[in-house]
Chain length 124, copies 2
DNA sequence: GACATATATTCCTATATAGGAATATATAAG
DNA sequence: CTTATATATTCCTATATAGGAATATATGTC
């Protein structure tokens, strides 16, 4: 049984790091022609086209034809499922971080108290 | 050239929906024995073991041996890269939603103003 | 129309995998 | 020790894919 296709859903589409790179590039709000993506990411043109094809299929990018150019634009909202899914677990690591912080502060307090302790007199 | 292995990074590990289901289950904060996951998700035991193996490899779960039981625990913090990555784009759809909201409110205001406009007297 | 440029698509290939089936390994109980 | 239970792992298989190489398609310029 094969793995789910990369075009199954956003999760599968963005698993591939180069596609994440493309998304990051397009996130500046501008429309990008394919060749600019090629140059910026130093990937081969057919590779870029293929990746963009996947992203288009899952709705993460859209394309507008401008003469011989294909301008690609990010549809960021379609990344929301990933964010929403991961956000479900945010409270788990947030609490963890608070707990680590509390522990550090407690240790700092103990250290301060210890340093302000009057020193025992020399027995000598 | 093959696809990146599922154990390459968290993105690849969670691309598979059944693994996302397992993560959701373990997110209740408890330790889960394999068989409970099997029963709850109605998956075959070997399949669950394999998925857990992937998740363990990328650090998303850890396992404690308790006699003949293997208790699995979520390490949610290791999902943070996914959240952080998606969060990068949050402002893009948040602004979109605000804009949709503003437009709706403007339309509502115009409607209210229109409804409170004194009616033209009948010419009759 | 010839030639140039942009880009999508096809062909090819080695590789990884999810589940099914089977089996190996590890612990518990009597 | 035998039997039972929990679970990891192996073997098998059909499928999808990322990039390389090549090619097809679409638009621009003179």
């Amino acid at each position: 049984m094969p793995r789910a296709a990369t075009t199954t859903d956003v999760f599968n589409a963005v698993a591939e790091p180069r596609r994440r790179d493309i998304i990051a590039l397009l996130s500046n709000g501008q429309e990008w022609p394919v060749n600019d993506v090629v140059v910026r990411l130093q990937l081969a043109q057919p590779a870029v086209s293929k990746h963009l094809g996947v992203l288009r299929k899952v709705g993460v990018v859209t394309v507008v034809k401008r003469g011989q150019h294909r301008m690609y634009k990010l549809e960021a909202a379609n990344l929301k499922p990933v964010h929403d899914w991961a956000k479900t677990f945010e409270h788990l690591w947030t609490n963890q971080i608070s707990r680590i912080k509390e522990r550090a502060e407690q240790k700092a307090m103990e250290r301060i108290v210890r340093e302000n302790q009057p020193r025992p007199k020399n027995q000598k």
